[in-house]
Structure formats: C-alpha cells, structure tokens
Subunit: 206 residues, 4 copies
C-alpha cells in the first residue's frame, strides 16, 4: 500500500513446456518462502534458489518479486473463487440460513487452511490490495451471496438495502479474520459461524 508504482505484470507468458515449468517452480517457491519464513525473507535470489532456477530466468518472466507475488495471488484467487462458485452450485434443498452457514464454513476453511499465507499477504505485503482490489473481492462476494440466496428455498427480501449488503460483507470479512487470526479461548468457532449465518439470514429474509 505504498504510493509509487509497482509493476505487477509478468514480462512474458511462457509458451514452451520448459518455461511453464520454470514459472510454476518460481511461483511455488514464492509460496513456500512466504509460508515458512515470511515476506522479509522473500528475495529474488532466494526465490530462484528455492525454485531451482537461475535469477536470470526469474527476471526473464517477472520484473521483480512483487510480480511473482502477484502471479501467485492471482493463481490462488482464481482457484478460491472457482471452489466457492462450484460449491454454491451444489443443490441446497435448504433454508437460506443453512446455505449461508455452509458457505461461510467453506470460506472459513479456505482461509484457515492457508492461514499463514493469507496472514503474510494481508498484513505484511504492502501492495496486496493492488493485486486484487478490494472491490473485486466484494463484487465476487456479492455475486456468490446472491447466487447462494437464489439457490435456497426461501426468497430473500427484495427491499434489501445496499447498506445491509455492505454490512454483510464487512461482517463476514471481520468475523473470518477474527476467527483465524485472533481466536478467543472463550468462543467456539463453529458456534460463531452458526451465529454469523443466522444473523445474515435474518437481515436478508426478515
């Protein structure tokens, strides 16, 4: 989140199998370093070393480590959104609350499974919100919430205000962040998720 421009685009897209393998190794190495040793351990030379390629090759495809992080995040986000969408598509002969509960559970698991990586990306990488802007996330989020709502047997209220929708997304984001990064010994995570789904369902349907 610094003001100067950072180049987050790849220099060229690998065509041959050999290059694709190199780029993939670089991205995996980036992930491994971030998870094991954090952002400050992430240097171009180290990425190349862990990936088993030369620094030269890294710079062939990326203008710097920031672009490697960006590629990794985009990869990850694509797979996340894919997972979420496909799960939503599954039939829920269910109440809205149950559908919502299923979905926030999914989301929680995704973040929980990648806790360390998400933590580093959100709290240490200064340009992570330039890779995937917040409103992209929010838009995807809305689409998914709506899709999920449509799938459920109960209709949601037509007069739902933008403020309520906004509250739903910030509430969900805040709660998941809390559960993953600031868990309390006094609360049961599943019950918190129950409550979360219950409240959201109430806002949407009552």
């Amino acid at each position: 989140m610094t003001t100067e421009q950072i180049d987050l685009k790849m220099r060229k897209i690998p065509r041959q199998a050999r290059s694709k393998a190199s780029v993939d190794a670089i991205i995996q190495a980036c992930r491994r370093i971030l998870v094991k040793r954090g952002y400050e351990a992430l240097t171009t030379n180290e990425i190349a070393r862990v990936a088993g390629v030369s620094v030269g090759s890294l710079y062939e495809y990326f203008p710097g480590k920031e672009a490697v992080v960006a590629a990794m995040v985009r990869d990850m986000a694509d797979r996340y959104f894919q997972t979420l969408k496909s799960e939503i598509t599954a039939k829920h002969n269910n109440s809205y609350e149950n559908a919502m509960r299923h979905w926030v559970g999914l989301l929680f698991n995704l973040v929980q499974e990648n806790k360390r990586l998400v933590q580093v990306l959100v709290f240490d990488v200064p340009y992570s919100f330039k890779i995937i802007p917040f409103d992209t996330i929010t838009t995807e989020f809305f689409n998914i919430v709506m899709k999920g709502a449509a799938r459920s047997q109960n209709q949601y209220k037509l007069e739902v205000t933008p403020e309520i929708l906004y509250l739903i997304s910030t509430t969900t984001a805040g709660t998941l962040t809390g559960l993953v990064f600031a868990p309390s010994p006094y609360v049961d995570k599943e019950r918190v998720l129950d409550q979360l789904a219950n409240k959201i369902a109430a806002w949407m349907t009552q």
Copy 2:
C-alpha cells in the same frame, strides 16, 4: 509477523527534559515519515534526520526502528483508549442503541482521522500485532462495550453468549475497516453505522 524475535522495548527511559524531548522528537518523526512516505521509507537514519537528532542518540534509547514504531503505537493506543473511555463516561440518558451508535461513530472518526497511519501500521508493518496483541484490543473493546451498556438506561440481556460478544467485536472491526479502507460509492457511511449500532443493540438486548 515474522517468526524471529524483534526487540520492541526501549533501551532506557529518558529522565532529563532534554532526553525526553529527543525521544519525543524521534517518535513524532517516525509518525510523520510513516504518514507521508510509508513504512519502506522508515530508516533509522531518516528518523534521526527528521527528528533533528543524531542516529547515535536514537540508538541510545531504541534498539532499532521497530522499537520506535512500537513506542509510537503504544502512545497512540493509550490516547485512543483514553478518548474512548472518557467519551463513554459521559452520560447517555439514552437507549442502548443510541449509546452504541455514538460510540461506533467515535471509533470510526478516530480511525478515519488517522487513516493513512492506521493503514500503514495494519497492512505494511509486519510486527504491529506484536506491539499490541489482538486480545488486548479485544479486551479493552469488551470493557468499553460493557461499560457503555451499563451506562445506558436499558439493561442488556444477561444471557448474552461469548459468541455474540465475539461477533460484536469482529463485526465492528470489519465494518470500520471496510468503511475506511474499502468504501463503496453505493453506501452512505452514516447509515451503515446506524445499521451496525442497530444490529448490535438488537443482539445485546433482545
């Protein structure tokens, strides 16, 4: 949020007025640099230069820039909590919802006024949650929420669960974060705060 240890304590506490002035100048310089140019511009030499003291003097009192940031944050947090508490102490011959609305409004303003600094601290400084652990914040938050509740004319429910309390704090945190750092053109901030207070009040009192 790296794994190795960072020394966040001051080396010694300044006794003389001159030393106090130096330490103060250092902390102010730290804040100014973070606000104007971000964390990556924060170097010990630069802090000293802006503060008008020598690097040697900085190292006399702090083991490194991280400790300067820590001192600054602790200062800031003290003043924040103080403000919040004193505001809560004011009489609210008022509903719980109104008290809550007043209070989230206050909190929002505090963050909004220090937007850039909070942004840098939360999203760029890797050790900010080591300075003030999340549960410290949560504890203070609970105290305040409870105190506020007690001050209001209406009693809150006695059977409020820890999960609901937890949800209140994560919801508030998430919503304020969203309003400040990811505002939507489609929502009115004050209305979102209205809704937030309304929902929290409902959870506490119904």
Copy 3:
C-alpha cells in the same frame, strides 16, 4: 581503448543468401540501436531482437557485440571513402582552393548526416580506433588531398613539408569536429569552411 584484447573479427563469412541477409540485418540493427539509444543500450540480445534473428545466430557469425560494431564501422568507412574518392575524381576546372572547399564541404556533410552515429562511435565506443586505426584514416586522407590537389589546375608547392601536411589533416579534423559537435552561434558554418579551404590552399600553394 582498453588494454585487454577485444575480438573484432567476424567468426565466419556468410555464403548463402539467407546468412548474408541475417548478417546484414544484424548490422543494420546495430546501427539503429546506436543511433536511437546509444552505446549503452547495445546488447547482443537487443541487437538480435531488433534484427529479427536469434542470439544464437548472432554468435554464429560474431564473437560479440564489439565485432558487430566493427563490421558496421568497416562497412560505413568503405562507403565513406568510396564516396569521397568518386567525388574527387569529378573534374574541377577550378582553383585548388575551390577544389579544397568542395571537398571539405563534402566531408562536413558526410559527418553531419551521421552526426549521432559518429558521436557515439568516437566519444562512447572505447575501441573504435582499434577498428580503423587513426593512421589508416590519415593515410586515406592524404591520398585524397593529394589526388584532389593533382586534379586542380594549380600545382601545389613541391617543398610542402610533412609538418604542413600533418597540420592540414589535424586542422581539418579539428574544424569538422568542432562544427558538428560544438557549433558556435556566433559563426557561420559555411564561412568557417570557406576560411578552412582558404588557409589550406594558402599553405599548399604559397
């Protein structure tokens, strides 16, 4: 003009039309890069890219970029000397001074037209005088001056000393260099060339 040896010879001479075309493309690319972006932008990879051939092909014919520059310079010098000689061959039913004036004008135009390239070669390329040694230039120059003199109606003095001949070449070189690379707003270029021809003629014939 460094002390270690630089290989300025081509690795092999292209026989087939396709190879000749590649080599030609490489030399043209070299010239274009030098003119547009200077010597520091001249890399083997860039030459190959601009030429539309692979680096591998470049190294097939040249041991390095220095040899490409050398080939380009030799090409250029050949054409320059050719032009000068053929122009001299033209009849000048003329005074020696007029013949000289015509000739320095020619020379000036040649340099002026290739100003940027000559500038880069002379002032930036450290090995340019190893490509065509100074005395080769001087010798050609003498030949031309003498030929030109012979063509003119007036005879030059027989007792012309080597020192005067030397002075003629350094004076011409210095003046053309000055006019092209350090022009003065206070002098008219054509008049300077007039004077130059006038003085040289005087030295040769009086």
Copy 4:
C-alpha cells in the same frame, strides 16, 4: 553523451578533515583506475577498495561513479586553467607568435603528461562533455588567447572575425589531439607546434 540524465553533482561537501580525506582518496582512486585500467574497470566497489574506504562512504558523498569522475575532472580542469592563466600572466617581451608558441607548447605538455587520462575521458567516458561543456572550454580558451595577445608587443587585428577565432580554437584542438593521440613518425612535434603558432599569429595579426 547519452540522452538520459546523469547526476554529476556531489551529494554533500565534506566539512571535517576526516571526510575531506575520504573524498580526496576516492577521487585519487578514480584517477588511478582510469589511468591504469580504463573506464570499464571503474566500478564503485573498486573505487572504494582502491581508496581504502567503504562503498557506503563513497555513496555518502557521491550519487554514483559518474559524479566521482565529474569531481575529478572539475578538479583537474581547475588546475589546468590555473596553470595556463598564470603562465600567460608572465611577461612576454615577445612577438605574438612567440607568445602563442609558448602557450600551445604549454597546452601540449599538459595534455601529453596526462595522455592516458585525457584519452579515457574524451574517447571512453560518454558524459565527459556534460561535466565541462565544450563552450566553457572554448570561452576559457578565447580569454586566454586574447590575454596572451594583449600581453604580446604586437597588436592583433581589430577586424578579426568570429570565424577566424573559431578556426583558431578548432585548429589548436585538432592539432594537439593529433600530436598526442595520432603522432606520425614523419613529423617532428615541435616543428608542428612551431607551424601552428606561426599560422595562428598570421591569422591574428596580418
């Protein structure tokens, strides 16, 4: 002689004796490397090593090696001009030609004594004419020529044209360059200088 901007200014001027010594050592090291091993051997790390200081210290005072070269050249030029001026001030109960001869001899010796350094600066360093622009040199040159003329017993012509003055400076520059960097086995250097002085005197006084 590249188009982009190069920073040729010092970062700060050393005040303390210790810093002055460092800066001096850096400049001497720069000269030594240029003379012994040429411009391509000039790296910031190498300058620091030869100077016996750390790279950090070099960067404390200079933004890069270019600025070190610039400082060295300015030093050198100052001393050159000083020498030339003081020599001109000496009385010449002498003809203009003799004064001129004395002076071009001086100039020749200065260049000859620093042959290798001047060679590297003029033909290898791409930004040398940005350090001391050509017209600064020419202006100084004119001043000196005029001063020298005034000192001589004979008056120079009042109607001397700008073109003749220009020719004098380019002729002198070209001839000195030739004598130092492209000497001919067939000419005697002193005699060439004799002729040079003789011709210039003729242009100025006849």
